[in-house]
């Protein structure tokens, strides 16, 4: 059977999760209310809408009849994860867009694209409060988008490889992990904020936690499938000796989870212990961030393609 969903969908799910994760981090950093995390919160906010919007564009481009995409928004089909997800995506894109614009004013010298844009507000409206309203609105949406990318797959009983709630969880945490990695990468690339120790410590800590959660989600994913229907148990063969084994275990687990985990732990421990000065070499950040970003893509590739091969019955 031919694959129905291919690279465009893989990238779409990836970008959707990434954007959602960025927004969630922006919200977290913002509400931490610490001055030295504000640049991170701002970068995350300024980045968040773009991957989602791009991903949605890819999705439309992938349709058999792209000119009819508007029909998605002429109806709400409550039983269809795609319908609910599409609405969620629109709401999130708009919210995160507004959120971005409100952040943009806060730092006119921000070089990142829209950073210099000035959004005039009516007098009497306080920018920070308005922004935080959008942050509060957008954060649950971001979590929703992150979960949705997995629910889209998980809600299909016909594809046993997908058909467990663990997929949604795995996709959500992978989304957060890639967002943390993206922030690490961007903050490292940007000289002005490069590797401030608290930033790095924060991002490392977050990422280590998320990676550990991911690892502990993989275990129940396998258990759940192995102990569920025969088709689900059989579907695991795809990554246990089947054609997706290498991609899953080497591409995702080893390179996307374990390698960055080790790098981050090795880099973080001295930072926490304060035994040495923070290294200003960006190498460590790259070595952990890039594999995480790549691993997230591999995870989605494996799931999107392997799921379509798995058959019910």
């Amino acid at each position: 059977m031919e694959y129905q969903w291919e690279w465009l969908v893989v990238v779409y799910l990836y970008l959707g999760g990434l954007g959602a994760g960025l927004f969630v981090f922006s919200a977290i950093f913002d509400f931490m209310n610490q001055k030295h995390f504000e640049p991170l919160a701002r970068i995350a906010a300024l980045l968040a809408p773009w991957p989602v919007a791009l991903g949605a564009g890819l999705l439309i481009f992938d349709l058999g009849s792209p000119m009819r995409f508007w029909r998605l928004f002429s109806t709400v089909q409550w039983t269809s994860p795609m319908s609910v997800g599409s609405w969620l995506l629109v709401a999130f894109t708009m919210t995160s867009g507004a959120h971005m614009l409100l952040w943009a004013r806060s730092n006119p010298e921000m070089p990142i694209g829209i950073g210099g844009l000035h959004l005039p507000l009516p007098s009497g409206v306080r920018r920070v409060e308005l922004r935080r309203t959008f942050t509060a609105l957008g954060a649950p949406m971001g979590l929703g988008v992150g979960i949705y990318t997995g629910v889209l797959l998980g809600a299909v009983p016909a594809r046993p490889f997908w058909n467990t709630p663990m997929v949604a969880m795995l996709f959500l945490f992978s989304a957060l992990s890639t967002a943390a990695a993206a922030l690490l990468l961007v903050s490292t690339l940007r000289k002005t904020t490069v590797s401030s120790i608290p930033e790095r410590r924060l991002l490392y800590t977050a990422d280590i936690g998320i990676i550990l959660i991911e690892i502990f989600l993989i275990v129940p994913y396998f258990l759940h499938n192995a102990l569920s229907t025969a088709s689900q148990a059989r579907s695991l063969d795809l990554v246990l000796g089947g054609p997706f084994t290498l991609a899953f275990w080497i591409g995702f687990v080893a390179l996307g989870l374990l390698l960055p985990l080790i790098v981050e732990v090795l880099d973080l421990v001295p930072l926490i212990a304060g035994r040495k000065k923070a290294s200003h070499s960006p190498l460590w950040a790259y070595v952990s961030a890039i594999p995480v970003l790549a691993g997230g893509l591999v995870l989605r590739w494996v799931f999107v393609f392997a799921g379509q091969v798995s058959h019910f019955g």
Binding site: M1, M67, R68, R71, S74, T75, G313
Partner: protein
């Protein structure tokens, strides 16, 4: 590339679709333009049903010999769909895969669209499109040249059955050539002879009521779908027992209660042993034998030595199984049939085998009774115009009367005719007119046929598609397809006889003509016009004169029949004379004795091959008509494995081959390269090469180019009595080529299921 797997080239297969959709595009365009303003809730609004506007025209299918009843649904002058005629007495409301693909065949871009005259080397595929006038002038000129040099007998005519074949044959007669050869000696001549020499006719089989049926190699479910297949299919598993003897586990075998992978060429041993058991145990219908047959004593004596133990040695089937089948068969009789098969071109002793079958059916009295062999009747229609009056004076270029004194001389024998041309220093044939035939595939030993073609100066092919043979011709005269023609009605004999009607559904799409128009065009140029001074309409009016139906009613119904059920027992009444020499059913053939042929069915051990050689067996798929229609994507695309040669897994191991590996199959006469399929569905000592693949004509799509031509391997053996080509007498060797192609890739329409539930 004989093993090409590429799908047909872009744009070769979409023509009818683009036809039908030409109208829809504008409508769709408008719909798209207005789409944003319509809510999808509009969908529940009732939609007009386009099918109700379609015009229904009834006709007869023309893609195989069976001529099933077809309703063509026409919209805006384009045939949209072909459906079966439900109440049709012959086709019983069915239309097979290729019948359904008739639409695609009609709109196939690979058809020959105008007369073509060769300009390059023969077979190089360089043609000049021309007008009918020029093409017919050209043909007439060449025929006249041959007549001047060699007489009318210098032109050979060969053809295959069809509603308009009559005109082609009439033309050969008017022209005055005795060198006429038809298809039976590539097909069923030996079966016809076996039945005829026993019963005086070829019976039908009452398969709806049969309780026990034995098929020996007759692959009724896989190789062709005709009324007999339909009756069997619908009875599978019900009150019927089906026994199949076949070296392959065919689809037919898969439906059998018993499948015996018999050693090829030994079927007569099985038949004789059944007879010996039946006589030994007194299971014969003694009354029937006494009253209607001659030769029972001689037969009884003859089969005595053919014990099941003897037959087990020959056939590889256990003696107790032979005994059991014989007893079951006899106890089911007269509702029992040992089926004689259709394409009976197997061995050099084939007629004896088919006679054995006839005799076996006779000794249990399975004749003219419900569930047995049934004599056929025919609805009399007029053959309005008989000509020409004079007998043909010239002699054949080969001595058919001496070679095969009992053969049907009107049909000629293909191999003997070819041999005579090849063996003469100067070819006795100067021109060859071929109608609806593809000898490069259908006649064994393609290399010999090509040699023969080299000796013939002028070759004309009348065909609908650029077959391999047409591709090697000097002129191609494109015939209109069956859906584009009105043909003379055909009266088909059977247990339930029927008159079939074929009527034009759409006008010819291209610059093509029907056979009668081609013949008339030539006749006019050759001074033979007087023999063809009628129209098809005149013919039809005259033909149906005796029927209680007029032309309009016949066109509306699509067929004419008088009986619903067979009339049993007509030949069992006192005073009936069978059309044999003795007037009885001849267990011992009088004519055979006169000609010093064994008068009782006599077994000959099959030849064996060199060590390391396998017996080549060949067969057809009902998706195609011999070597035609493979080109169509609807059929070829549904059958990716169809071109593969079958070998047993042990044989595959021996040669280090696995599925999709391309193997060179070599016989004494030629070699081909085909992908293999290793399957336990075939005997270890056989290689199966499906017929009709591996076409070379570049005018066909790549679906037709897949695999190889079985005919290139087949040696020219022939049945001793009829001259029927013997196609299972060749041994081949296998040589791996090291190449591999993906054949295992199943199309969407045929998946492997995990199990029944």
């Amino acid at each position: 590339m004989s093993t090409s797997q590429n799908p047909p080239r872009e744009g070769q297969s979409m023509s009818r679709r683009s036809f039908l959709q030409a109208g829809t595009f504008t409508v769709a365009g408008l719909a798209l333009a207005s789409a944003p303003f319509t809510s999808h809730l509009v969908r529940s609004a009732p939609r007009p049903n386009p099918l109700l506007e379609d015009q229904a025209i009834r006709t007869s299918c023309g893609l195989c010999v069976n001529k099933c009843g077809v309703t063509a649904w026409v919209r805006d002058g384009v045939i949209r769909k072909l459906d079966p005629i439900d109440e049709h007495p012959k086709s019983r409301g069915m239309l097979c895969a290729r019948g359904n693909a008739g639409v695609q065949a009609l709109y196939d871009p690979n058809r020959v669209k105008s007369p073509l005259i060769r300009v390059g080397e023969r077979g190089a595929g360089r043609w000049r499109q021309t007008t009918w006038d020029e093409a017919l002038d050209h043909v007439a000129e060449n025929l006249l040249k041959v007549r001047t040099e060699m007489g009318p007998e210098g032109v050979m005519f060969s053809s295959t059955e069809g509603f308009q074949e009559h005109f082609f044959r009439a033309f050969a007669e008017a022209w005055g050539s005795p060198n006429v050869v038809r298809h039976p000696t590539l097909c069923l001549a030996s079966m016809v002879h076996g039945m005829f020499s026993t019963f005086g006719e070829v019976p039908a089989f009452d398969l709806r009521k049969t309780r026990y049926i034995i098929l020996a190699g007759a692959n009724r479910f896989e190789a062709l779908v005709t009324p007999d297949s339909v009756d069997l299919m619908r009875n599978v598993g019900k009150r019927q027992k089906l026994v199949v003897l076949d070296p392959r586990f065919t689809i037919t075998a898969s439906k059998a209660d018993d499948w015996f992978p018999i050693r090829p060429g030994t079927d007569l041993a099985f038949v004789l042993a059944m007879m010996s058991v039946i006589f030994e145990e007194g299971l014969q219908d003694q009354n029937f034998l006494d009253r209607y047959t001659i030769g029972q004593e001689a037969l009884r004596e003859h089969v005595r030595k053919h014990t099941p133990e003897w037959a087990a040695e020959e056939t590889g089937i256990a003696a107790r199984e032979i005994r059991r089948v014989a007893r079951e068969f006899a106890s089911a009789a007269p509702a029992a049939v040992f089926y004689p098969g259709r394409r009976s071109s197997w061995t050099e002793n084939d007629t004896q085998f088919r006679r054995g079958i006839a005799v076996l059916n006779a000794i249990v009295g399975a004749w003219d009774r419900p569930g047995g062999c049934l004599p056929k009747t025919r609805i009399a229609i007029e053959e309005p115009l008989v000509f020409p009056p004079d007998d043909i004076a010239a002699d054949r270029c080969y001595d058919l009367e001496t070679l095969f004194p009992l053969a049907n001389h009107k049909d000629g024998t293909y191999l003997a005719l070819r041999r005579s041309i090849l063996e003469s220093a100067k070819s006795p044939i100067g021109a060859w007119m071929i109608y609806k035939q593809n000898p490069l595939h259908s006649v064994p030993n393609t290399n010999a046929t090509l040699e023969m073609m080299k000796k013939i100066g002028f070759i004309v092919a009348i065909d609908t598609s650029p077959s391999d043979t047409a591709w090697m011709a000097d002129v191609i005269l494109p015939e209109s397809m069956y859906l584009e023609r009105t043909d003379p009605p055909h009266s088909v004999a059977g247990a339930v006889p029927v008159v079939l009607n074929r009527r034009q559904v759409v006008p010819p799409r291209h610059d093509t003509k029907s056979c009668i128009e081609i013949v008339q065009g030539l006749a006019e140029r050759l001074g033979l016009a007087e023999y063809f001074d009628y129209t098809v309409d005149d013919w039809i009016e005259a033909a149906i004169e005796p029927l209680t139906i007029n032309r309009k009613e016949l066109d509306e119904r699509g067929f004419y029949s008088t009986l619903e059920e067979p009339n049993y027992g007509r030949t069992l009444r006192d005073g009936y004379r069978f059309r044999t020499k003795s007037g009885k059913i001849e267990l011992e053939s009088v004519r055979y004795r006169e000609q010093s042929y064994p008068a009782l069915p006599t077994y000959v051990k099959p030849r064996s091959g060199r060590p390391g050689a396998y017996r080549l067996i060949t067969g057809r798929s009902a998706l195609y008509t011999h070597a035609a229609l493979q080109s169509l994507s609807w059929l070829g695309g549904a059958d990716p494995e169809g071109c593969a040669a079958w070998i047993h897994p042990k044989v595959a191991d021996r040669h280090g081959l696995s599925d999709g590996d391309v193997v060179r199959v070599r016989s004494s006469q030629g070699e081909i390269e085909v992908p293999i399929k290793a399957t336990p569905r075939i005997r270890e000592d056989c290689v199966f090469v499906p017929h009709g693949f591996g076409s070379r004509s570049a005018g066909l799509s790549d679906y037709a180019h897949r695999g190889g031509r079985d005919s290139e391997l087949l040696e020219d053996h022939e049945d001793t009595i009829t001259g029927n080509a013997a196609m299972h007498e060749t041994f081949v060797e296998l040589f791996p080529t090291g190449r591999h192609i993906e054949i295992a890739k199943l199309p969407v329409s045929s998946r492997i299921e995990g199990g029944l539930r």
